[in-house]
Structures are given as C-alpha cells and as structure tokens.
C-alpha cells in the first residue's frame, strides 16, 4: 500500500534509503516545508552558518568517508552561495548531492522574491543537475542523483525543488531501478591494454608510479600497495592522492609538482615508464608540458575517458575503474618476477637524501615548517588534517605524513580559501573517533570564521591551528619573487585575539609565538576535550620551496634563494 506523504517527507524518505545519516544546511523561505518535515525525522540536520560552508562541510564528510555528502540551501541567495563548493567538488571529483529549494512552480520566471535560475546557474558547476517538475518524479530523481554522484568519476549533483513540490501530497511509490541510457561507467579496462602495460612495466629500467585522487576515490589503496611492493616500484602521489600510499612506505617518494620534492620531480623527469593512476596531469604537477617526463612511455589509467589523452597522449591508455584495472594488472604482473633496478632506486634515494624538504627551526621565532612538523609528530600519520589554500597547505602537504587514505582533506583543483574549517566540521561528524586538525592561514580562517559558532554549538573537538604570518602568504611570495617585492594588498594587519575570540564562542584558545613554547601549546590544544583555537605567530616572510616557477620544467626547481638546475 503506497503511503500518502508530502514532497518534503518523500525527499527525507529517499535520503534515508540512500543511508544519509546527516546533512549540512541552512533553512529559508521555500525550504520551510522541508525543515518542518525534518522536525520529527531521524535524519540529523547540521545547521552551519553560511551555505558555502554547508557544501564544504558535506565535502569534508564525503572526503573523509567516501560516502555521498549532502547539503541543502534555500532558493536564490542560498543556492548561489553553494556555487563555490559545487565547483570545488567538481574539480576534485567529490560525491555531493545538493538540495536547493526553488520558488513555487507558478512563480518561476516572474522574478519572485529569492528567485534565481539555480538549474541554469549550476549546470556547468555540477556533474548533472535536475529541477523537479512533478511530485511523482521526486523519488526517481533523488536516487538518480545519488547514483550519479557516487559512481563513475564522482562529482556533485544538484536537485532544485520548488516549494509547491515540497508541499504537494501524493502516494510515495519507492523506486527500485535507475535508468540512465546515456550514462556509461567504464569497468575493468581492456585486457589487451592491461597485458601491454604489464609488459612495459616488467621491461622498464626506471619506472615510476604517479598516483592521484582516483586511487582514493576508487578505494584502491590496497591494490596500489600491492603493485609497488610486488614489482618494487617507486611512487609519487599528487596533492589529491596523499595517503593513497602510506607516507612511511619505503617505495614512497613524496609529492611532485610546483611545490613537490626534489626527488619526486627529478624522478618524474628521468623515468622511462610512468604509470599514471587516477591522475589528470594537472598543470601544477606537470609544469612545462613539453619538458614533462620527456623520456617516459606513459600508461594512463582513468575512469574518465575524457581525461585520457587530454593533456598528455599516453602510450597505453586504459579507461576503467583503477581498482579493477589494478587487480587485473597485478594478476598479469604476477607472471613477471620483479626486476632488480638497483641503480634507479639508488639514484632516487640519493635525490631524497641530497634535498629533503627543508624544515628549519630557529630560536627567536616559529618557522612555519617547524609548526607543521610538530603537527606531523602529534599526528603520527593518523590524524585527519584539513587545510585552506596557500603556503600552509603546501607545507602541510610536504611535511605531514598520512598512513592511510581519506586523512588529508584539502581543496586541490579549485584552491578555495575558507575550505579548511567547514571541511573539518564535515570530517569530524563523519569520523567522531578521529583527531581532526584544521590547519588554516590567517586569511582563509577569516573567510569561514562564522563556523566557529557551528563548532561550538555541536561541541566538535576540532583543533584549529592558525598559521599566522600576518599576510596572504602565497600571494606575497609571488609578489616577492615575480613582482619585485611590490607587496600589494597582502598584509593582514588585523587579527582577533584568539583567546578572546574562542572565549566569546565558549571554548578555549590561545596565541603562541615563542618556539620553545610551541610543543606545550599544541599539547594543551590536543588534551582539551572540546574545540581549541591555537593562533601560531610564525615568520612573516618565509617562502615555500622547492618551487617550480609557473610554466617552468619541473626539474628546474628553485630550492631556496639559489637556483639549482640539473
């Protein structure tokens, strides 16, 4: 017997069927019927303080678990505020379902109060989007949205629901199947190509695994580890792939690219076979394309056919789910004994030894790298770390170890400031058992400062570490290096007193600037059962190195004040 429900109740029923235990949102006029239905529904709604942060929090949740993150906003300004989060999850392939309210159907197109063409605006910002026109379509659309968000190359899907659809009453008829005739999900990859790839790997002299976010999205870390172990292959992981292979794995080099390590970039440049797994040859990784891995034959495995050959034409393209492809590849590779490649491994170890990441410590001030290494020590490769975008993000990516996937949560492709704090909220809800550090700059922190209220009101024990250099550090670094140090609008000369700020929200905070007191200050933060805001005053004019100047070849790194070339 079908049950009579209104659209809002049907929506919640569908969310429950998709295993949604909580979602992040902000109510408004047209979503009143939804929030009324929520009043006595077991699904938990997390009230954030800005819709952009609802989407970032949903991303934090999704990135920490692999489950679809859900956010919700009202029509008009609510929906437009979601945009940055949608584009962010699009760029980083994060599964998100966003629900927006819309003005009632008969008002659409009339410039009604809080009306915006959400369906039109979000079309290029989502993997797919919907506007619900009939109540009977609602269950099908919701289940399609979750299916699209989570499968294939994951991404954000938005469902725009007019107020009258929320209110309309009808029979709830559960949907048991999804039919999307044009939606193809690549499977296990072409067997012949996989065999060719195995052959190429087995014969290679200087192979290198270049693994990215696709490994994490596909939950293929175990297969990646087997691959590097069974064939004794060195590996780099991209910014999005940190944790795909444990930082402590002996095969692991580090991150390549603009602020990647010397060893990773040199290995990329010298490899004869590049095994690219779930990566998209981002410009921040490749630098000057013509000089990128110039001697390497490339095997490119990706679930998205449009990524294969987009930037670098591979010698062996394999379109498929990287987990399934690796399983097949491992089977074929088991016929080949691992080849000894002593000189290549020795070479990589020499590069590693010669130019490790620099983490200087001085007596009179806290170097930012000193702060990040201390956090690494406390985390021991186990904590969740969310960041904003900029210098602190790069130092964190360089210096913090991640022993498993889904611990490192940052805005990679879009580079959205303000991401770190709300993402930590989502991650902490997803993983209440985990220690969550939100490392933010003094710039990005102030973009999402209202979320301190969310953290306080839910009592989330997030450790907010502000790497405070009084500047928009990365922009300042570029002005110093490429604009004759003409520092323009990068000085942030007002920052609130951390103790008073946290205190105003009802939790603890402090400021530390003495390097000898840093460890103790971090210790206090971690021991605090609730949230903690630690403002760390660090050197103002420190640059992130190594650095590949934009458009340069990645083996032409600036390692410090002196240019070192091969």
């Amino acid at each position: 017997m079908p049950t009579q429900m209104n659209g809002a109740q049907i929506l919640l029923e569908c969310l429950a069927k998709e295993d949604v235990d909580c979602f992040f949102g902000y109510p408004g006029g047209v979503t009143l019927p939804l929030y009324d239905a929520l009043y006595d529904h077991p699904i938990k709604h997390i009230l954030v303080r800005h819709e952009e942060n609802a989407c970032f929090a949903a991303e934090g949740y999704a990135r920490a678990t692999g489950k679809v993150g859900v956010c919700c906003a009202t029509s008009g300004p609510g929906a437009t505020n979601l945009i940055t989060g949608l584009v962010d999850s699009m760029m980083d392939s994060i599964p998100i379902v966003a629900i927006t309210g819309q003005v009632s159907s008969h008002l659409i197109g009339s410039d009604a109060f809080q009306e915006a063409d959400t369906f039109g605006i979000t079309r290029p910002c989502t993997k797919h989007n919907y506007m619900v026109q009939k109540l009977e379509d609602l269950p099908r659309i919701i289940h399609e949205a979750f299916y699209l968000a989570a499968t294939g190359r994951p991404g954000p899907v938005l469902v725009d629901i007019p107020k009258d659809i929320f209110q309309a009453k009808g029979d709830y008829i559960p949907v048991s199947s999804i039919h999307l005739p044009g939606y193809k999900i690549p499977g296990e990859g072409h067997a012949g190509q996989i065999r060719r790839a195995a052959q190429l790997i087995a014969e290679s002299e200087r192979p290198l695994v270049y693994a990215g976010g696709g490994i994490i999205a596909a939950n293929a870390s175990a297969e990646l580890r087997q691959l590097v172990e069974s064939q004794d292959l060195p590996a780099v992981t991209t910014l999005m792939g940190l944790g795909a292979l444990s930082s402590d794995d002996p095969h692991y080099i580090s991150m390549p690219g603009m602020h990647g390590s010397y060893a990773a970039n040199m290995a990329m440049s010298d490899a004869d076979v590049l095994i690219a797994l779930g990566v998209r040859f981002d410009d921040r990784v490749t630098g000057k394309l013509a000089a990128f891995a110039p001697n390497a034959k490339v095997i490119h495995v990706d679930i998205d056919p449009a990524e294969v050959g987009k930037i670098r034409v591979p010698d062996i393209p394999i379109v498929g789910d990287v987990k399934k492809v690796l399983q097949k590849l491992l089977k074929v590779l088991s016929e080949f004994p691992p080849k000894p490649r002593r000189s290549w491994i020795t070479q990589i170890n020499t590069w590693k030894r010669e130019h490790p990441y620099d983490a200087p410590r001085v007596e009179n001030e806290i170097k930012p790298q000193h702060l990040i290494s201390e956090i690494d020590r406390l985390s021991g490769g186990q904590a969740i770390v969310t960041t904003d975008v900029g210098q602190h993000q790069m130092w964190s990516a360089q210096l913090i170890r991640f022993n498993e996937p889904r611990l490192w949560i940052n805005s990679g492709g879009l580079g959205a400031m303000g991401f770190g704090l709300p993402a930590a909220i989502g991650a902490q809800f997803a993983r209440p058992d985990k220690l969550v550090f939100s490392i933010v700059g003094d710039g990005g922190f102030q973009m999402s400062i209202p979320e301190l209220a969310t953290i306080a009101s839910y009592g989330l024990p997030i450790k907010i570490i502000v790497m405070n250099n009084g500047h928009l550090g990365m922009v300042r670094q570029w002005q110093e290096l490429f604009y004759q140090n003409r520092l323009s609008s990068v000085k942030l000369d007002c920052f609130p007193d951390a103790e008073k700020l946290a205190g105003a929200y009802g939790f603890k905070g402090s400021t530390v600037s003495d390097p000898s007191k840093l460890a103790a200050a971090l210790d206090v933060a971690i021991k605090e059962p609730g949230p903690y805001l630690l403002n760390v005053q660090v050197t103002s004019f420190e640059n992130v190195y190594p650095m590949v100047p934009a458009g340069g070849a990645i083996n032409q790194m600036v390692l410090g004040p002196v240019m070192v070339t091969k």
Binding site: Q133, P174, S176, H179, G182, K184, P305
Partner: protein, 184 residues
C-alpha cells in the same frame, strides 16, 4: 575547417544547453544547430556545425559523450555521413526577369513554394556550401531574403548504439541481498 557533430540525446529540459554549453564555455561559435525528436520521442537528434581546433576536437566530443543526457556524440565526415541543408529564399525580381529567375531555380532544383506579383519563394536543399552558389545567383536578380535551416546529417555506416540498461537502486540492492533473490 568546419566540423559536423551529430548528437543523440535524451529529450529532456536543459539537455540542449548542456551540449551547447560545452562549446560556448570554450569560446567556440556555433555555425548552425538543428535539433528535433527522433522516431522515439524519448530522444532527440542534434546536428551541430562548428569550427573547433583540430587538436581538441576529440576532447570536445569525449566531453559531450560524458554528459548524462547524451547517448552518443560523433563526428560526421563525408565518408561516414550524408549531410544536407535547406534554404528558404524569397526574391523580388524585376518583372522582365521573372522567367530567367525561374529558369535559374530549375537548374538548382529549387521548388517554388510561393508565387505572387511581388516575387517568388523557393525551397532548395543541398550540401553545406553548395547552396551559397544558389544564393549568389539569386542575389544578382534583386533583393532577397534568406533563411537557412542549418545542416542536418545522417550516418551512412552501420554503428552500434550502446544504451545502458537499468540498474537497481541502493535500497533495492540491499533488499535483493536480504532476500537472496533478484527483485522481480
């Protein structure tokens, strides 16, 4: 060089914009575009004529194929497709030229769809570019008004259409595991 792309897509609101959005986002100007239902009203067939950089042509078509509403996007070439366009042309010739105009129209196999003391309306079809000549000839007889349909193309080679079959929802999947039998 102009390129003809044929797209089979679901007949759904917004589907057209998703396809054209891919081109406009990259700054490509669409030369012509036609779209209409196929014999199955669930689907539409779209023919786009556009000048896309040869280096990223394959990429653009891959991106189109990625769109959820697109069943298949493919490039149409002379070898694999027939391509035609229709022109509707109205001309007001001098009275003494009327016979000559009709004669010219005949050469291009144009059909008269309207005739009055003011002039004629012709309908003519042809390959892309071919019709330019007809328009040029007519222009020499007087003032003309032209509407072009834009190109339409049909594939002349056998190609397999891959439609994805339905999949169970999460809840149905769970139920299936619970019951141990597939859902009817």
């Amino acid at each position: 060089m102009l390129q003809v792309i044929s797209v089979l897509l679901e007949n759904k609101p917004g589907a057209l914009l998703r396809v054209t959005g891919l081109l406009s986002a990259r700054g490509y100007n669409i030369e012509s575009l036609t779209v209409a239902r196929t014999i199955d009203p669930e689907f539409s067939r779209m023919t786009i004529v556009v000048d896309v950089d040869p280096n990223i042509r394959a990429q653009v078509i891959k991106q189109m194929n990625k769109l959820i509403n697109v069943i298949q996007a493919s490039e149409m070439t002379d070898d694999t497709a027939a391509c035609r366009e229709m022109v509707l042309l109205h001309i007001r010739p001098e009275h003494r030229d009327r016979a000559a105009v009709l004669k010219e129209a005949e050469i291009f196999s144009a059909r008269v769809v309207d005739s009055s003391v003011d002039g004629f309306a012709f309908e003519v079809t042809g390959g892309i570019g071919e019709l330019e000549e007809f328009i040029g000839v007519m222009q020499s007889y007087g003032e003309i008004e032209v509407t072009r349909s834009g190109a339409i193309a049909v594939s002349t080679e056998a190609r397999k259409l891959r439609m994805q079959p339905p999949v169970p929802t999460r809840a149905a999947q769970r139920q299936e595991e619970f019951d141990g039998v597939p859902n009817a």
